[in-house]
Structures are given as C-alpha cells and as structure tokens.
C-alpha cells in the first residue's frame, strides 16, 4: 500500500482536506505529521505541505514554517527523491525553504481570490501530471491573497526552458509572472502550486481534476 504524509503546521487549515483527498482519490494510507517532529514516518511515497495560514502568515507567508524542525526531514527526503507537493501556503513554504525557485508576492490587485480556475497542463511528463495524458486543461480552485508568482527574468527563462513550469493559468487571477500556477524543481520530484487539487478531487466539488494529480504522484511511487 502506498503511503503519504500530510504535514500540519500551526495555522494549517487544509491538512484534513488533503488527507481526505489523497485517501479518496488514491486509497493510500495518510499520516498527519506535526511540524515539530524531527523524523518522518518510514517508507513515505508522498509528502504534502497543505494550504492555510501557517504562523498567521506573519513576517512572510510560509517563512517560519519553512524553518520548522520537520522541514529538515522534508529536505532530506526530497534529496532522496521522495515526491513532495506544496499546495498554496505549502508552495510558499517550498519557495521560502529554497526547494523551489522564486517567491509568492501579494496579488497584483490586492484582492484575496477564491474561485475555480482553468489551468493549462503545460508539462504532462512530470510524475505529478502524467495522469493528465492528453487532457490539456484542468480545473481547480484557488484561494489566495499572496499567490503572485515572482522570479527574475533569468530564472523564469531557465525554468520555462527546463520544462519546470507545470501549470499555467488560462485567465491569470493574481498577476503571476508568465501566468505560472505551478512549478517543479529541476529533478522533478518537488511540485508547488497555488491552486488546490485537494478542493477539486470529486465531481461534487465542481471538478475531479485534482484527483489525477494525487493519483499520478502515487502511481509513480
């Protein structure tokens, strides 16, 4: 049986959603891991950093969570090749911990944006997106005030050139550079995205496209 862990930080609010979404879409066993832990469960196939407002978004979104004890273990696991997904606040943690390039700025029009968005699946060759196959678009919900992806031009050129841009917004809701909604690291085992696959994993939620992401991540385990 495949095994996933969802990290829980003070202020996370999508941790339960992630657990349910992964269980229902993949059948994997999901453990919740508190941020102060200094070890991760053995044999993990997937680690998820959930959305929310860790540490009240104080200082910068994800900044203090990125320095939590458990993040040392997440970095080590990422180096071993374990799949890591950061969603929304989790994406912010991944950039703050330098597991992914760039940063997330305040939304261009200063508004918190909460709505379904259509994404272009730019790279369906990653371990997180293989299941989208010929499906070129995916619908997921965004909910963020600081989802405006930023990186300098050289970095943007590099990640685009290396196929690290995985999802783009069709109709950019927050001013993200080059409409970027999600990226992977150079090795391809760490994904960060602002839209929530965990809020879009069943048709009753408006879209089941998020389930494909979790299924892909664990199918390659």
């Amino acid at each position: 049986m495949t095994k996933a862990a969802v990290l829980v930080f003070p202020g996370s609010n999508c941790d339960r959603d992630c657990k349910v979404a992964i269980e229902r879409s993949t059948g994997a066993a999901v453990e919740m891991v508190w941020h102060a832990e200094t070890a991760l469960p053995a044999g993990l196939d997937l680690i998820v950093l959930p959305g929310g407002f860790s540490y009240g978004d104080y200082l910068r979104c994800g900044a203090m969570a990125a320095l939590s004890p458990v993040m040392t273990e997440v970095k080590a696991a990422a180096e071993r090749g374990v799949a890591v997904v950061g969603i929304c606040n989790g994406f912010q943690m991944l950039t703050e911990s330098h597991l992914l390039p760039g940063a997330l700025l305040r939304n261009e029009r200063l508004k918190y944006v909460c709505k379904p968005v259509t994404l272009d699946v730019v790279n369906a060759q990653t371990r997180f997106t293989a299941g989208y196959g010929a499906q070129r678009q995916a619908v997921m919900t965004v909910g963020n005030g600081e989802g405006n992806f930023f990186a300098d031009e050289a970095t943007l050129d590099r990640i685009e050139g290396e196929g690290q841009v995985v999802f783009r917004y069709i109709d950019n809701p927050n001013g993200s550079a080059r409409d970027i909604a999600g990226i992977v690291n150079a090795r391809g085992n760490v994904l960060g995205l602002m839209p929530h696959p965990d809020r879009s994993f069943e048709a009753d939620l408006g879209s089941a496209d998020g389930a494909i992401l979790f299924q892909s991540a664990l199918a390659s385990a």
């Binding site: 700025l105 200063l110 930023f150």
Partner: protein, 79 residues
C-alpha cells in the same frame, strides 16, 4: 545593543501595497507623490556588546529569516 532592521521589496519587484497607498495619497490631493514603497521595521535587543559581531549576527538573521533575498533587501542599524 538595540538592532533595527528595515526590510523592503527590491527595486523592480512590484509593491502593490505601495501602489495602493500611492493612489490613496493622490486621492487626498498629494499629487506630487511617486514611487511609494511599503516596508517593515523589526527592532530587538541583542546581548552582544561587540558592534562587528552584532552586525554579522543580525545580517545572518536577515539572510536566514527576516528577509527573503529573492524579493527583498534589508538595512541594519545598531545603536
């Protein structure tokens, strides 16, 4: 020793908060205002008595936590 750290978005990084404040100031009649940047100030006491060591320590804090150098610059003052 008292440390004062100022953190600002780097030039060229869109400061939407600054833009909003600028528009508000224009709306209040201060039309000559331009390039508003909103930053933050972080102040704290430091046990270290050696200015050079203290400065190195505060810079390390900035690099590690207080600023995200992908998007922000910082200034340190010690008094």
């Amino acid at each position: 020793m008292r440390a004062k750290v100022e953190v600002f978005l780097k030039p060229g990084v869109l400061d939407v908060q600054g833009k909003a404040v600028e528009q508000a100031l224009h709306g209040l009649g201060w039309g000559g205002v331009a390039d508003v940047r909103v930053g933050k100030t972080i102040e704290f006491d430091l046990a270290s008595a050696d200015p050079a060591a203290a400065e190195a320590e505060v810079k390390a804090m900035c690099e590690k936590l207080l600023a995200n150098t992908v998007i922000e610059g910082y200034r340190v003052e010690l008094a």
